[in-house]
Symmetry: C2
Subunit: 76 residues, 2 copies
Amino acid sequence: MDISEETFITNLGIHIRQLREKKNMSQQDLANDCDIPKNQIGRIERAEINTSVKALVKIANALDVEPKELFDFSIK
Amino acid sequence: MDISEETFITNLGIHIRQLREKKNMSQQDLANDCDIPKNQIGRIERAEINTSVKALVKIANALDVEPKELFDFSIK
C-alpha cells in the first residue's frame, strides 16, 4: 500500500526526535554536531519541512547511526 | 565512521537505478508512476541533485518498496 508523503515525514520527525532523546542530546546539541540550524532541526522533527537527503546524512552522522536507521520505523 | 553526503547520494542513485531496472521500468515509466519529471529521475540516479524525503516516498511507492529500502545499501 502506498504511504502518504505527509504521514511519512510526520513519522520520520518523531523517529528522529526519539533517536536524539535516546542519545540525551538537545536540539541545540544536534544542531551543533550536524551544522544545521536549531530551528531547522525543530521543523524537521515537527514535519514542517520536507528535508533533503544530505541533511538526513548529516543528522545520521551526528546521531552516530547509519542513514538507513533514520527510515527504519513503523508507520503509525 | 561518518558517511560523506556526496558518497551517500551517489550510492543512493545507483541503488534507485538498480531497483528500477529490477522492476523492468524505464526512467519514463518511473517518472509517470511517481509524478516526477523524467529528467529529475535521471538527475537523482546520477546524484546530480540532493532530493527530498517526499520525492523519495513517491519513488518508493512507484517502485512498490518501503521508503527504508531505498536507503538499504552498502556504501561503496
